[in-house]
Amino acid sequence: MSALLDLWTVVLVSAGAVFYLAGTVGLLRFPDALTRLHALTKADNLGLGLVVLGLVPQVGGVIIGIKLVAVWLLVMVSGACVAQLIARLVRHGSDPAP
């Protein structure tokens, strides 16, 4: 059972790390601000989400596990809102060098 949980952690944390890599590659390679924003939100939501889900079996406590997931939910809410705000800023040209 514990080996299975460890496998779960290894697979999900690795997958999360890959999404961080994808986020960085997108942030560096995509041509304009809006597409870069698209890459960033993947790292926000999926990268952190997979890491959190991977870590849940390792913390040994339901309350702590719930707090872990709460961290992810908070990041998703604020990440989504900030992405919208930044996108509007970019589109309405308030940014000096779009």
């Binding site: 908070l74 809410v77 604020s78 809102c81 919208q84 705000l85 509007r88 000096p96």
Partner: protein, 309 residues
């Protein structure tokens, strides 16, 4: 493996610090400074200072970033200052290199075994009734420092307010903010405050026994209040308002009252009688919390700017 992580962290920290100092674009420097603050939080964790990491996360990740971004954008229209002459640059380089060299020599010469007060704290912490050693130090063993800190914060706010123009006195700090009531910002400012209130009070409350405490909790509450101000849902209070001024001095006065009580009951100013140590520590924390929240939040919008609404 951990040392590898430390080494990578240190390299990125130094790179970001160099960028903050050397970048040509002021906004880029501020953005790098925010990133630097985030990584500093990780450095504190690696140095086993969880309480410090929590403080850095709350202040560096929230308040300082917002303060500096607001300032750098307002200063964008200002004419650039005259660039430093090569003489100044050379002097700066010499001063920096000397400082670093002397300090590095001191670090390499640190005594071994290191002097520490940890055993002393471990021996006496039971008297205070709290389990978090940091809280015990802040509110029992070195409470004079904490009292003076609260007063310094109050002075900083008074200093910032005193920069306001006469015509704006006693008005509200900052500029009037408005946002579309159904927009994203207003949405965020309605979703986060209840959660932030719970987290802030939790961090404050758990501080007696676990990492956390009034500074971290107050910073979180201040940040949440600022968010609602940014979305136009609330407005900063008038600096002349009586309740505001009363709340600002309530914390330090409560602290001093406990101190005076100590000089009667335990023989010295700020001494805590052992049988009542924990309730008194809690009393100080509860008295300081609203004051700290108000000061930390109102330091951001700065001096009063407008007398109407």
């Amino acid at each position: 493996m951990t040392l590898l992580f430390d080494a990578a962290l240190v390299v990125v920290l130094l790179g970001l610090a160099a960028w903050v100092v050397l970048a040509r674009n002021a906004f880029a420097a501020v953005a790098a400074f925010i990133a630097y603050g985030l990584l500093l939080t990780l450095a504190w964790l690696q140095l086993h200072g969880i309480d410090i990491a929590l403080t850095e996360a709350a202040i560096g990740g929230g308040l300082t970033g917002a303060l500096l971004i607001g300032a750098v954008i307002r200063l964008r229209t200002a004419p650039p200052a005259a660039p430093a002459t090569s003489m100044t640059l050379a002097l700066a380089a010499i001063a920096a290199a000397t400082t670093t060299a002397v300090l590095a020599a001191c670090v390499l010469a640190l005594p071994d075994p290191a002097p520490t007060l940890a055993p002393l704290v471990a021996d006496n912490i039971a008297v205070t009734g709290v389990e978090n050693a940091i809280t015990a130090v802040l509110l029992a063993f070195r409470s004079m420092d904490t009292l003076l800190e609260a007063i310094v914060l109050l002075f900083a706010l008074v200093g910032a307010w005193s920069l306001g123009a006469d015509s704006a006195w006693p008005g509200r700090p900052g500029f009037a903010q408005s946002a579309p009531p159904n927009g994203i910002l207003a949405y965020l400012a309605r979703i986060l405050p209840p959660i932030g209130l719970v987290i802030g009070v939790y961090i404050f409350w758990t501080g007696a026994d676990n990492p956390g405490g009034k500074f971290q909790g107050a910073t979180i509450l201040a940040a949440i209040w600022l968010l609602t101000m940014a979305a136009g849902l609330t407005d900063a209070p008038r600096v002349g308002s009586r309740w505001l001024r009363a709340a600002l001095v309530a914390g330090p006065l409560g602290f001093i009252a406990v101190g005076v009580f100590g000089s009667y009951s335990a023989g010295a100013f700020l001494a805590l009688p052992p049988e009542a140590a924990k309730p008194l520590i809690l009393a100080i924390e509860i008295a300081l919390m609203p004051t700290l929240t108000l000061i930390l939040a109102l330091l951001l919008p700065g001096p009063p700017q407008r007398t109407s609404s």
